[in-house]
Symmetry: C2
Subunit: 273 residues, 2 copies
């Protein structure tokens, strides 16, 4: 490739890293693509890295060896996380969101690009080192969140279905009791959707008792796989003890006061408890 000016290289590099998170790029490839000497490229990279770290966009890892190269690890600053979750708490506290049956309407929030993006970044940041090979969720409302998280981790998503579908071939099904309403539910994952022994990050929109998350862990085990983390957008404060162990939530939901139209919200286990 023709020689490229530093200013142009900086734009290219920034785009390339943002577009390919958690993907090792070799210095030689980069130098070739950008028509730059490795020494110039190293200077470019330290500029990009410094700005990313200063802006709280994450960090870079350099690996040596055959599969070596530089890898962008998306992250978020504590200030960004605090601010995002505080705004979410405010929105979720609106009593107009209370639906008959004690449900909280969140579909609008979970469809917004800014929310999906920020939540995906938070989960990707928190689980960056967990060694997940896929992001797993169960239809329907957790899917957008899983897509955004997977994007920032550079991983594929796997969507567990509520029913076996003809369009997915032979499947492993599992019956479980939903912890919140004690109903028997089914989930099903086609054989072709998950390689044996896969390490998965589980992402969902909501956790009450944790029955769905536990069923996902069990379904994973049926494939010889392992859950390396559980991230949920919201969890209820009650029951305090969930059917799964550790999980990361962004906002926790307490008492829903239908009369005064207020929902109690506190920040989630993302920030520790």
């Amino acid at each position: 490739m023709a020689r490229v000016r530093r200013s142009d290289r900086l734009v290219c590099l920034t785009q390339l890293f943002l577009q390919n998170p958690h993907t090792a790029v070799s210095l030689s490839d980069l130098a070739e693509r950008l028509g730059a000497a490795k020494s110039s490229l190293s200077e470019d990279l330290s500029i990009v890295r410094a700005v990313f770290e200063q802006q709280g966009l994450g960090t870079f890892e350099t690996a040596t060896g055959a599969a070596g190269g530089i890898r962008y690890i998306p992250g978020v600053s504590e200030a960004f996380a605090v601010d995002f979750v505080r705004r979410l708490q405010g929105e979720l506290a609106d009593g107009e969101r209370i639906l008959p049956g004690g449900f909280l309407f969140m579909s609008d929030i979970l469809g917004r690009p800014d929310v999906l993006d920020a939540a995906g970044r938070l989960f990707a940041h928190r689980f960056a080192g967990a060694g997940a090979e896929v992001v797993m969720t169960v239809e329907t409302k957790g899917i957008p969140l899983a897509v955004s998280t997977a994007r920032y981790l550079g991983l594929p998503i796997v969507v567990v279905r509520r029913n076996q579908r003809l369009t997915e071939g032979s499947a492993v099904s599992l019956n479980y009791v939903s912890g919140s309403d004690r109903r028997i539910q089914t989930m099903s994952l086609s054989r072709r959707s998950l390689r044996e022994g896969t390490r998965a990050l589980i992402v969902d929109d909501f956790m009450k008792a944790g029955g769905t998350a536990r069923a996902l862990v069990e379904l994973l085990a049926e494939f010889g796989g392992e859950a390396v983390g559980i991230g949920v957008f919201t969890a209820t404060l009650e029951p305090e003890k969930k059917l799964v162990g550790e999980y990361v939530s962004l906002v926790d939901i307490g008492r829903m006061d239908e009369e005064n139209r207020r929902v109690e919200t506190v920040r989630g286990t993302y920030f520790g408890r």
Copy 2:
């Protein structure tokens, strides 16, 4: 903010535009945020713009007036689209994907971050000027595609459900006959999920006769809304005449030869017909 060097500003600007597609940013705000004179900033912007356009990442629009500013419109080069769709065709042509009942297994492909990203970019590019206010899909397999497309358009997504859900409040339901298997199906969208009179881009994974897409158009109409475009990942060549008018597909699927394990694939209407 403290004065920032040009090199740092280029990294910041690139990140900012990629992160906020279709969003007008005022020059004064940018100048303030980056601690730069407007004249320097203009030079920065022309560098970013030139690289983006040269790399086929899209273009920029400048609007004057109160809501004025500069706006990044993600796009793709023709070469990128051709190459991406050619690779997809190759993957989908694999006869091992044929499932009993004449379905084609695509869930793995539709879960990959590179595929979702590229497909989202293609749809966002094609429908950039359509004036959509939301990206609409029906559960389940079209959701990841809708999320990616919406991200590149800077729009929220709206997910139509197959059944009415308690967790979404009062809803409008619609029965329709699936064009492909003549079964009666239901779709349902909660009142709170869509403002009256919304212009929506419809995105889905698959179209055969077009019954689902037509039902989505009708459901939109129930909300006083309008479909400004239809984008599907794959469409079948037969029936040639669909139940909806214009649509954009990436790959079209012809004869599935179970015996010889080959699937006929041609490039979709994205490229014209």
